[in-house]
Symmetry: C2
Subunit: 375 residues, 2 copies
């Protein structure tokens, strides 16, 4: 059965069928350069989070701009990105399943690999897998710095780091502390974000003292996201930044009140949609929450004074905010996703464009290589 | 790079790695039989909505139990299910893009195909595509029966149906009215749902009068969902039912207060997850909202008195509700998705099990064939 024809390089953007996940590559490249320049000016390592884009192509652009490697959140993401040529990966999450640990330990024979741990069982199982594979894995002890999710209490860092060091003969090395505060990223006022990260820094300091009491030097503190990285920088405690969303700048991040002097990013990720039903009161587009994630609220409507309302899995409902008329049947409507990471995860590929959304052309189709990489 | 090994038929369910989308096939078959028996007893056609499962295997089970065909929401879903052997498809949604209409018109040369319309432009473009393809497509005029999304006002049905009939030489046939009220499905009290569908029936009656004024006979009224089908049945107006979620019964549908005498369904769709981080206050599982959709709220925790809290894209946070202790590191936790349709759309395949979640075995892996079929 012939499928619907995919976009081809050289096609005008206006010909791209909907719904489509569209990457404005010019804007993404500017975002990548901005963040790389920031990290470099501040003498910080940059290890962008690839959970946002799940794309070897975007990871390679980040690496070419100076990133030391990328973070991933899942074993299967690490495997997919390694398949795509990425050679330095940090799984910034706990892995407990022996089958996953075995796969990661083998992967460490081909790429530089690091992993977060927050439990003695995690260290023990990882050490067993790495010993069996005959490889080496760098281990970061995750500390809870305010998120209340994974990570151990700061004062316990020293004991777990000692367990990692004790497993050196098995192939573990101690890489330092993983300290990320997800909940701080979308506090709207910069002063709130600064205060949250100030408290995170205090907790990292407690963890560092715990290491010191155990006679352990800390090679690195890694963490930070797109919403807070200037605050982590300001504390002087972190040595590596892990932002992910800056490549795309979703609606939720754009709604943050910017901190004075912070680098600015541009929207680079869009869902192209089309009006399929028109009414006096509203217009219905063909992109619902199977096409863009709504966990962080509704998408913005790019360049138009219209409100997007939840129309269910396959529909969005546009209403007027002011005098601007509703779009007509068949019209294109560009959406700025509420949350980039889970939006990308809904699509099999990016339609990569150059020259802008209005008059640009399709540059390539890039697979979302780690789409659905949940394990 | 060796991927993580997929589950194999015959594996015990306890060996299935996490997160995984697990279908309890025994329960799904009982749900399918229950709905088929209901439709048959009431002399109604059953055309289940395949937007829920996106699976040719599940569609074939529904057809074998007596369904006349299935509904889909997207042109690309129709193509995927036709590829999987489904021969009677209704796209219960508006399609405006000429490329999609051309593909559907060609598809109508291989399967029995129907499509919803709610605009003269929709009829005109569909007629042009069908004429070019030399095929025949059955057209249902969509009426807004309370959802406030697609569908025209009931009193306009006659004029649009006349336009469909005028396009008979091009290959269109008039199939009747598509009348679905999505917003009524999750009203919690049966009396509220009954009242909403009573009002929908009133609107359908207005549409039928509009057809009559135009001298047009209505062959069929189709609609209804898992939450309301007994109410549509009760009105005597609908001739075909379109429920989808009954195959799975997600947490949101189970939260509806059941109507007296209504058929009962069982949970058949689960996300298997695992504890990856444990704390005195909470346990963290490896399934966040990239593994199960949260547009209709958090998942339930199957068989345990625990609360699931949003832990972001890749994590869920379990807390106690009563005396039951938290699960331990590495323990399996079964989640009942908040909303089945978009949860299924996150996964590449179902791990199909027989014999129950505790002691059962893997029966097969079934692809979510129309996953990501957004166009």
């Amino acid at each position: 059965m012939p499928a619907l024809p995919p976009p081809e390089p050289g096609d005008p953007v206006e010909a791209v069928d909907t719904p489509a996940l569209v990457l404005d590559l010019d804007a993404a490249e500017r975002n990548i350069a901005t963040m790389a320049g920031y990290a470099s000016r501040h003498g910080l390592l940059l290890r962008p989070h690839a959970k946002s884009h799940k794309s070897p192509e975007l990871a390679r652009l980040q690496l070419a701009a100076g990133a030391v490697g990328v973070c991933v959140q899942k074993a299967s993401e690490a495997l997919a990105l390694a398949d795509g040529g990425v050679e330095d990966l940090f799984v910034s999450n706990e892995v407990i399943a022996p089958a996953k640990l075995a796969a990661l330990a083998r992967l460490a024979g081909r790429v530089r690999l690091a992993l977060a741990v927050d439990s003695p069982l995690g260290v023990q199982r990882l050490a067993a897998a790495v010993r069996d594979a005959g490889t080496t894995v760098r281990v970061l002890v995750e500390v809870d710095v305010g998120q209340g999710r994974c990570g151990l209490a700061p004062e316990q860092a020293g004991v777990l780091a000692a367990a990692v060091l004790a497993a050196a003969p098995a192939g573990l090395t101690f890489g330092g502390l993983h300290a990320y505060h997800g909940g701080a990223q979308h506090l709207r006022a910069p002063a709130e974000r600064a205060a949250a990260i100030h408290d995170s820094a205090r907790r990292v300091t407690v963890a560092l003292e715990s290491l010191q009491r155990n006679g352990i030097r800390c090679p690195l503190v890694t963490g930070a996201g797109t919403g807070t990285f200037i605050h982590e920088t300001g504390t002087g405690v972190w040595g590596e930044l892990q932002p992910g969303s800056y490549v795309f700048l979703d609606r939720d991040y754009a709604d943050n009140e910017p901190a004075p002097g912070a680098p600015r990013f541009e929207h680079a990720l869009f869902v192209k949609s089309r009006v399929i039903s028109e009414h006096g009161t509203h217009a219905v587009v063909d992109a619902g929450h199977k096409a863009h994630a709504i966990d962080s609220g509704m998408p913005g409507v790019w360049g138009r004074d219209l409100e997007f309302g939840n129309g269910g899995d396959e529909h969005g409902i546009l209403t007027r905010r002011g005098a601007e008329p509703l779009p007509a049947l068949g019209d294109t409507v560009w959406l700025v996703p509420g949350h980039c990471d889970p939006t990308v995860n809904l699509h099999d590929s990016y339609v990569v464009v150059r020259g802008g959304l209005e008059h640009g052309k399709v540059h390539a189709l890039w697979p979302v290589a780690a789409r659905g990489a949940l394990r």
